[in-house]
């Protein structure tokens, strides 16, 4: 199958959507499909052979933060040329409601079109402004995918579009088979409790994590708290005071180190206080066999199957977090059962499952008809 993927955000900037599109493209190629990714990127950026750069991006204030977007007549022309040259059987857009390449491609294409919606945080002002202009174009999306229940709810509430839920993929085996990192290998005497995420972004919950230190150390005097993630941790660290010797701040770590940390740690804690639509790190931790303790956010509750695959604590409550960490450490047998169930549960997030589901969406949209219509540039001046 010839598949055209459209990435809305700059390829040079790392981000969840970009990683998802990269992994999806590589999985599809490994199954023998022909894939081209249209992505915002400068001409001189090094990109994989399957990426077609759509030109430089412009930093724009959009949806409450600065996004690097791609628009204007030059981009539109390139998009039309990419559509014509690609002769795709199917077009798969990402975030077509963001005013960038995804929306442009939707306006300029005709034929079998699938779209994935990632965000659950549309600002309604931006959306209300954009929606009347693209409502007609939205009718061209023949298969809508949301990456989480939260993302789906946003779509239904704001756009009146329903979607099937297909979560982001994780390479489960890469975490399950990762060698534990010796520096952070937890033992019965010195259990390692791990935190991953930006340390200076309050909603990632480092303060909650560190607030649990005293009560855990009281029960497990050898406990080590490993804090991995970019940013300036000074402010949050000041609160640990006399327990500072139990906390190790290791800064940003590589993907391999992350897998090793999750593999060897005695518990992974996700103390986020909000703004999470999915929780991919929880899935990675479960894949690595780490017991998970997470705040009681909707997205986390769903990933942890309401507490069957990991322990939950009320958002922001360090005392409750400490109780749950102590429970994980105190009852190895129950923890082993939970980890074992989690290992089965994460299968639905493995790329092999996720690509199978996405292919099923493609095939459902293409339908049974032989010689089904393929993607073409829409006639100029026609309705969106």
């Amino acid at each position: 199958m010839r598949i055209g993927l459209v990435c809305p955000y700059s390829w040079d900037v790392p981000g969840g959507v970009q990683f998802h599109i990269r992994d999806l493209a590589e999985e599809l190629i490994s199954r023998g499909h022909s894939v081209s990714v249209l992505a915002p990127a400068d001409e001189d950026t090094a990109v994989p052979p399957y990426v077609v750069p759509a030109g430089r991006t412009v930093p724009i204030h959009y949806n409450g933060s600065v996004a690097r977007l791609n628009f204007g007549p030059v981009t539109a022309r390139r998009t039309r040329r990419w559509l014509a040259d690609g002769a795709f059987d199917l077009l798969h857009l990402h975030e077509p409601i963001t005013p960038s390449l995804g929306m442009l491609a939707l306006l300029h294409a005709e034929g079998p079109i699938v779209a994935t919606f990632h965000s659950s945080q549309f600002r309604s002002r931006a959306l209300r402004a954009a929606f009347p202009l693209v409502r007609g174009a939205m009718e061209k999306i023949q298969g809508a995918i949301a990456v989480s229940e939260d993302a789906r709810r946003t779509l239904v509430d704001h756009l009146g579009i329903d979607a099937v839920i297909i979560p982001n993929g994780v390479h489960v085996a890469r975490f399950a088979e990762a060698p534990p990192e010796p520096r952070w290998q937890g033992t019965a005497e010195a259990p390692v409790i791990a935190f991953l995420g930006r340390v200076d972004e309050p909603r990632k919950g480092l303060a909650v994590f560190l607030g649990a230190v005293p009560a855990v150390v009281a029960a497990h005097p050898g406990a080590r708290f490993v804090v991995a993630g970019r940013g300036e941790a000074g402010l949050a660290l000041a609160q640990v005071g006399e327990w500072a010797s139990h906390v190790e701040v290791v800064g940003g770590i590589s993907d391999a180190e992350k897998a090793g940390l999750l593999k060897g740690c005695s518990a992974y804690v996700a103390p986020q206080t909000g703004g999470e639509s999915f929780g991919i790190v929880l899935v990675e931790a479960m894949s690595a066999g780490a017991p998970v303790v997470a705040s009681n956010l909707g997205a986390f509750r769903r990933v942890l199957d309401d507490g069957a695959l990991g322990r939950l604590f009320p958002v922001g409550e360090a005392g409750a977090l400490a109780d749950q960490i102590n429970a994980v450490l105190a009852d190895p047998e129950a923890t082993a059962t939970m980890v074992c169930q989690a290992a089965t549960g994460v299968r639905r997030y493995d790329w092999s499952t996720v690509v199978g589901r996405i292919m099923a969406v493609y095939e459902t949209v293409l339908g049974p008809a032989a010689g089904a219509p393929s993607v073409q540039p829409a006639p100029e001046g026609g309705p969106a």
């Binding site: 023949q142 329903d162 979607a163 099923a360 969406v361």
Partner: protein
């Protein structure tokens, strides 16, 4: 005076052009949606037929006890004969859910040491998932079309012609818990 005339005529012409373009666009959209509804309905019927035929194969293969096999085979046969989007499909769903058992049983069968059973269940899981997709996409197309057809441009200019108003398909296609854990077909 003539200038006024020309001006008025120009404005009237522009308004007419705008109206014609608006109606033209609406006609294209309604036609696009009608074709999409036909396509998604055909796909849904095909996927339902495939699920019924996979269920019938399993019922004939001896993987289930005779009572279960007879009930499922009967439900599958009625669904295949009905060829529609009617209550037979929901009845097959109910029969299959009972035949597959609870999540514990299902996960055990999917991972068990009987590869024939596991493969048959994977095939069923795949067919079932495609039914869910096809129904979701069909109903989405139906609701978009219905919304579009309520617009004044569409009603006043009779753009929908004689095409009957599409209706959504509300069969029960909820899979049993645990079926989503089946490994996908290669």
């Amino acid at each position: 005076m003539t200038d006024h005339w020309t001006g008025s005529v120009m404005i009237a012409l522009a308004a007419c052009a705008l109206l014609v373009t608006g109606v033209w666009y609406a006609a294209i959209r309604i036609d696009r949606m009608h074709r999409r509804v036909d396509r998604t309905r055909a796909t849904l019927q095909l996927q339902l037929a495939r699920r019924a035929s996979v269920a019938l194969d399993i019922a004939h293969s001896g993987l289930w006890d005779p009572v279960t096999s007879i009930v499922v085979a009967e439900a599958a046969r009625s669904a295949i004969e009905a060829e529609g989007l009617g209550p037979e499909e929901s009845e097959l769903t109910v029969a299959l859910r009972a035949a597959l058992g609870d999540q514990e049983q299902l996960v055990e069968d999917l991972n068990g040491d009987d590869p024939v059973k596991a493969d048959a269940l994977r095939e069923l899981a795949d067919a079932w998932y495609r039914v869910e997709l096809a129904r979701r996409f069909h109903n989405e197309a139906v609701s978009m079309t219905r919304r579009l057809r309520q617009r004044r441009t569409v009603r006043w200019f009779w753009l929908a012609g004689r095409t009957p108003m599409p209706v959504s398909c509300d069969i029960d296609d909820a899979p049993p818990a645990g079926l989503e854990l089946a490994q996908p077909l290669a």
